[in-house]
Amino acid sequence: MEVSRRTFIKTTLIGGAGVSVFGFSLAPVYAQTQGLKIARTTETRSTCPYCSVSCGVIIHTLGDKSKNAIPQVVHVEGDPDHPINRGTLCPKGASLEQDIANERRLLKPQVRRPGSDHWDDISWDDAFNEIARWVKKTRDATFIEKDAQGRTANRVETIGWIGGCTDTNEFNYLAGKFMRGMGACYYETQARV
């Protein structure tokens, strides 16, 4: 049968009245195709953010990649190819979709001022500046240059760091450099990924 795959594709596309490469009429198949509602999802491998086990997850996102469409997470499942959990998830991890697609999820920084009874929205730039100002102020005020015996200490005991489980090795390396550079002693990560 001298027919190429290119010829076949061409025949199936002209008016839907083509035949398959082996001679089957595709008219009824084409008729059914017209009624199909097709949705595109993507699958993205990620890491569960909840604990230091760092289970692999696959996040299913609905969206046709058009620029004005907002992708929507529709399902999260354990990653069967991940060596840690091999497709399994704890009950908390299995509910991850509800954490992502949740109207109460914070999507921007907020600040609660001294004496205030509520949180105010703040821009990312202002948040960075404010954090930097407080870190410097705290460090300057509590920096310990010498300990009680007069030995050089150069440490800060009033600032600590707790890393999340989705922080990568590279991120933790930079965080470690930064904290050690400041003299901070209390530094923990959940480095797994």
């Binding site: 795959r5 198949v29 199909l36 699958e43 990653d79 069967p80 091999r86 497709g87």
Partner: protein
């Protein structure tokens, strides 16, 4: 392992009775599966013989199953296949053998008779543990590790007892055996970027989806056995032929055409 064939035949009959657009395809495929099962049973039941894995040597036995196979295609196939089957049944076996040997070395998804006739032989080879001689099996992880064939369809199945997610396997279009393959990877070019891999799904075929790659513009269909456990991937894949036409209309090419040429 005739049960495997029985399961495929049963599923094809079941789907053909319910099918809308793909009824003709499934009706034919059910008959083709019966013909393939007969070849497989013939090879299995042969006394004091095991396949060598070298097609040229095994052809003398395999050739005995050819006339019945061609007769079945002539009876149930569409006009073009029936005519070709008729011609082949009158062709000198040496010429047919050359066609089969050519296919053996360089598989092609548009060579219906070679592919359909050799599938049960290759499946029997795999079951007996004989290795196919003369086929390149070291192409890539995207090709069948047993015979080097292209994937026909993928399926998701739970392998970890406590997992709800399905592991992904690919079924070989040439020998029908399956091998493990990672979930978020293109089965044609190995693309791993999530934004380049699209999964297209229609509620009409709830457990079947198109797994397409924007990089190489190829696709194959995936059957989710965690949703419909009694599905038979190679059969359900044919039932979902409308998805193939949709994929082609949107610029995707199937990695390997199935035995109804879609």
């Amino acid at each position: 392992m005739s049960n495997w064939w029985d399961k495929q035949i049963q599923r094809a009959d079941q789907l053909a009775a319910q099918a809308n657009g793909s009824r003709e395809l499934l009706t034919f495929y059910a008959q083709l599966l019966r013909a393939q099962k007969e070849i497989h049973d013939f090879l299995r039941s042969r006394r004091d013989w095991l396949p060598s894995g070298e097609l040229e040597l095994d052809l003398s036995v395999l050739s005995e199953a050819l006339p019945a196979f061609l007769k079945k295609i002539e009876s149930y196939g569409p006009a073009s296949l029936a005519a070709e089957a008729h011609d082949l049944s009158r062709t000198d076996f040496q010429i047919v053998a050359e066609k089969l040997l050519t296919y053996w070395c360089t598989s092609s998804d548009i060579k219906f008779f070679e592919k359909a006739f050799l599938q049960p032989y290759l499946r029997w080879l795999a079951e007996t543990g004989a290795m196919p001689v003369g086929r390149d099996t070291s192409l890539s992880e995207r090709n069948c590790p047993y015979c080097g064939g292209n994937p026909q369809v993928s399926f998701l199945q739970n392998k970890e007892t406590t997992a709800e997610s399905g592991n992904r396997d690919l079924i070989c279009a040439t020998c029908l055996s399956s091998w493990e393959f990672r979930r978020v990877v293109c089965a044609n070019c190995g693309e791993e970027r999530p934004t380049k891999l699209g999964y297209f799904h229609s509620p009409k075929f709830d457990h079947i989806r198109i797994e397409a790659c924007d990089t190489c513009k190829h696709y194959l269909k995936g059957v989710d056995l965690t949703r419909v456990g009694f599905a038979a991937p190679i059969v359900d894949e044919i039932d979902a032929a409308p998805l193939d036409l949709w994929a082609r209309e949107h610029g995707f090419t199937k990695i390997e055409l199935n035995l109804v040429g879609i």
